[in-house]
Subunit: 236 residues, 2 copies
C-alpha cells in the first residue's frame, strides 16, 4: 500500500497510479489553462470594448434633428433629443416613419404613445449605447416598446432580464403580462416557475383579481400542470 | 517498481505518486477547463459582437447633413456623405469645425486637404464602423489623417499595421515616413528592423535618394546601430 500525493489516501498496487512527474505536469497544465482563460477573455474584451467605446455616441448629443415626446397627456411633456439617422438605423419602424413624407419626418417630432417619460428616455438611450439599467417595471415597458418598434436587440435584453428575474412572488404577474403581449419565452419560463410551486399559486396577490378578470388564464396554468404531471408519470 | 498510467515509465516507490482516481479527476479538469475557455471566449465574442452590430451605422446612411470633399484640385470632386453628429463624436477637431459658427458648419461642407478620395472614403467609413482594410499606402495616409483630426482609435490601428507589416524592403521608407511625422513607435520598430540587417541598408532603393535629400536621417541610423553595438559589448 502507498499514499496518494494528492488525496493522501492509501491505495494498493493493483489500482494503478501516475508518477509524481506526470501528476505535477498535469497540475501545472490546469493552472496554465486557467491563466489562459482569463487572458483570452480579457483580450477579447479589451479589443471589442475599444471598438465599442469608439462607436458609442452619447445620447444627448449635439446636432439633433428630431425630438421625441412621451404621449402621456402631460400638458408640458419633456422632449428627448435624438438624430433621425440613429433612430432609423436602429428601428425599421422609426425608419419608415422618418423616411416617408409622414408628419414625423416633416415636423421633426415623434410622439410615442402609452409610455412613461422614463421608459422613453431609457429606450432612446439604449438606441445610442446598447445599454440600460433595468428593473421589473422598466423591463416590461421597454419590452413592449421594443416589440412595437422592432428593436430586436433590446427585446432580447428585456426578455432575458425578465426570465432571469422570475421568482415565486412575481411569476403570476409576469405570466399575465407575457400572455397579454404573447412573449413566448417568458410565458414558458413563468409557467415552469409557477407549476413548480402549485401549492403557492392561490395565495399570490394577483390570483383573486385574475380569477375575476381572466379565469381562462388560470385554467391554462392548471391544465399545464396536470399535462406535465401526466408526462412525468408516463416516464416513471 | 511500478508503471505510470500516463507516461508508461517505471518509477520506484520512493518517488511518490498519485492514485488513479486523483489523476483521472485532474485530467477531466483540464478537458473541462479547455471547454470552458472556448465557451467563455465564444460567449464574450457573441455578446460584444451583437452589441457592436447594433451600434454600427452604415456610412452612406440617409438623413446626411454634411458632405466631405478630398481637396485634391479635382474640378469635380466626389462628395462623401456623413452626419455632423457622428463626425463630431469621433473627432474633436471635426467637432470644433462643426460646433462653432465656422464656414464648415454653415455650409455643411468640409474640405479635407492633402488626401486622396480613397483615403477620405476609408477615413469616414472608419468613423462609422471602426473597420478598415489597410495596405501600406492607405495606412500611411490614414495615420496622417488620424493624427490631424485626433482619431486615436484609427491612429493606433494604423500604427499597429505599419509596425507588423515592417520588412527588409519597406523598413527604410517606413522609417523616413515615420520620422517626417514623428510617429515614435514606428520610428523605433523600423530602426530595430534596419539595424538588424545593416549590410542590406545601402542597397535599398531609397538609400541614394535619401543620401541626397536628408543625409542626417541616414547618419542617425548609423549612430543608432553603433550605440546599440556598444551597449551589447558592455553586457558581454
Amino acid at each position: 500500500m502507498r499514499t496518494c500525493i494528492s488525496c493522501q489516501l492509501m491505495y494498493s498496487k493493483y489500482q494503478g497510479s501516475a508518477c509524481r512527474q506526470c501528476y505535477e505536469d498535469l497540475k501545472a497544465k490546469v493552472e496554465q489553462c486557467n491563466e489562459d482563460l482569463n487572458a483570452k477573455v480579457e483580450q477579447c474584451n479589451e479589443d471589442l470594448n475599444a471598438k465599442l467605446a469608439f462607436l458609442t455616441m452619447p445620447q444627448p448629443a449635439s446636432f439633433s434633428d428630431v425630438v421625441l415626446f412621451a404621449d402621456d397627456d402631460d400638458e408640458y411633456p419633456v422632449p428627448v433629443l435624438a438624430h433621425k439617422a440613429v433612430l432609423a438605423n436602429r428601428s425599421p419602424v422609426l425608419r419608415a416613419m422618418l423616411d416617408n413624407e409622414m408628419k414625423e419626418s416633416l415636423s421633426g417630432t415623434i410622439k410615442i404613445g402609452d409610455v412613461s417619460y422614463n421608459a422613453l428616455r431609457a429606450f432612446v438611450n439604449f438606441l445610442y449605447t446598447a445599454e440600460v439599467c433595468l428593473d421589473q417595471q422598466l423591463a416590461c415597458e421597454l419590452l413592449v416598446m421594443s416589440e412595437k418598434y422592432q428593436v430586436q436587440h433590446l427585446k432580447d435584453f428585456c426578455q432575458k432580464f425578465l426570465v432571469s428575474n422570475l421568482n415565486l412572488d412575481n411569476s403570476l404577474s409576469t405570466y399575465t403580462f407575457a400572455h397579454q403581449h404573447n412573449f413566448k419565452p417568458i410565458i414558458d419560463a413563468a409557467l415552469t416557475q409557477i407549476t413548480a410551486s402549485m401549492d403557492k399559486l392561490a395565495s399570490q396577490d394577483e390570483y383573486t383579481e385574475l380569477k375575476e378578470r381572466d379565469p381562462g388564464l388560470l385554467l391554462e396554468i392548471y391544465e399545464a400542470y396536470f399535462s406535465k404531471q401526466a408526462d412525468t408519470t408516463m416516464y416513471i
